[in-house]
Symmetry: C2
Subunit: 353 residues, 2 copies
Amino acid sequence: MTVYNIALIGFGGVNRALAELIATKNHLWERDLGFRLNIVAVSDLYLGSVISPNGLDAKTLVEANFEKGGFGQLSGGSAEADNETIIKTAPADIVVEATFTNPKDGEPAVSHCRWALQTGKHVVTTNKGPVAIAAQELKALAKASRLRFEYEGSVMSGTPVIRMVEKTLAGAEVKGFEGILNGTSNFVLGRMEGGLEFASAVREAQQLGYAEADPTADVEGFDVRLKVVILANELLGANLKPEDVSCKGISNLSPTDIEEAAKANSRWKLIGSAVRNADGSVTGSVSPKRLALDHPLAGVNGATNAVSLSTELLGAVTITGPGAGRVETAYALLSDIVAIHAAGASAITKEAA
Amino acid sequence: MTVYNIALIGFGGVNRALAELIATKNHLWERDLGFRLNIVAVSDLYLGSVISPNGLDAKTLVEANFEKGGFGQLSGGSAEADNETIIKTAPADIVVEATFTNPKDGEPAVSHCRWALQTGKHVVTTNKGPVAIAAQELKALAKASRLRFEYEGSVMSGTPVIRMVEKTLAGAEVKGFEGILNGTSNFVLGRMEGGLEFASAVREAQQLGYAEADPTADVEGFDVRLKVVILANELLGANLKPEDVSCKGISNLSPTDIEEAAKANSRWKLIGSAVRNADGSVTGSVSPKRLALDHPLAGVNGATNAVSLSTELLGAVTITGPGAGRVETAYALLSDIVAIHAAGASAITKEAA
């Protein structure tokens, strides 16, 4: 039985959900996936950090109601979150990076990934920042050390798109894509179709917990822009930076715009897209688009995300699924670890207990 | 450079499209996929058969307008289609089975696959018959000889679903699926929504080449039933036979049914589905269902196919794409060969020319 020792960087919703899954699913994964996961370190800005070479009990970790600095009470724990030390010294095979996304320079997540790869650890992350901003450097670093840098969850939580193209569409020749890549803005557009003005729809999204106090990144397209960069670079072999992608959000759409679209059997969606041009260059953009109701993305409603790939041999192939959610995003991390396992990457093999 | 020698069994639309792709794409596949394909044998009931150890020119094969028995004119050719000899003796790494589907016992395609695996050749096929009826035997045979039996194209042509679940959703725990798996019946339903009666809609489908002279397999759900068997056995670990799956087609739907659905913001779709029951057994069915317009499959129109997977960790994940087409189905064969290549299966390695 293979056991992967993992270090969780960040213990917010996503990594906490992964710990919950470990607590309940490890026996199933042993049987079905051929490995189980053992949490040997956790670091979190609020809770502190802890290294436990034999492993922390996932159930205890999830159920204990730690206060600020609470990891300091644990054996091997500290009230401070010393991410650098944890990442560099924890006896982990895989570092699971799930801290906040910084859209400017990707830090400190880029450093987290770099430290892990420099000290011989695979990295799995759901964090858009390091992937959109530093994927080339981090992939090169991983390759040089025969490690994996996996980030399926950086685009549509656990809904596979990067790995789907890599593993199931090789040779189909992806020429471009269009996606609904932000559930919050998609929810807002749906409520505007229901008759609300933009500001009221945003307030409702905030009340329901779909939108943050500052909804700018969601409704102005900045979140989608990072995802377009990631997909364009992965699926189309581009080398885009966020500032290369034109970006327009939905805040200027009026009730009149929405009504006129409906009259013309169409509806507005915030579309992130990229296309390979005749000269081989790739152009990415984020913009509201009026889609005919029979467009593959027109029926994607609420918090659901979707990417429609334009391919040479298959025409349009569309994948639709959750774009967010604690468990859904934690699953992306699991799927990344499954990929590491399938690649036969080096691992500490132990006898099953 | 890896070269896979392939034998084409059947030279109708699909294998002819594969030969066309080989003629135009081999150089691209060398660069992007790491292999090229070399046709060393072809057998076809109408045209005859031919073995050419050094390889047949794909372009010539496609462009020559062979008459009945025409392969007899070729060096190493015969006017007769001796599939057994071709499959057993051709110097092929991979047998590409694309003959007609026999829904009763899967023959002669089952024998084609068996002969290939017994003589050390991988099998790729788009043929539902052998997969729905003899997958267990053929998979065991392949496994025993460390060969691959691949059949992505048996369900939705090149749109990945079997491999998508295997490669990108491991651990997500698929609990069931619903699919639109027959483009002809879906087209007919669409035309009935446009006001036609069933019989007129079928006639239109026939005139457009979407439906065969005898449309029974498409409109009565028998085609979908084979696909439900394949997916249930693959994705849910079932061991269903076609007769285990209840089957009802669309021929009894009346214009009134269609109108009433529309009034209730819903529409009829022919749905193939399977679900794992609490006791672990799997129930499959084919039946027209009235879907609410916001159902993930309600917007799948015309010849497009889709499967919506119900998963424990991700909820619904839906893949939508072409369900038929010569090139689209030939791509499925290519994707199977990509999978064989990725698995590092044995191959004849030659220096690139």
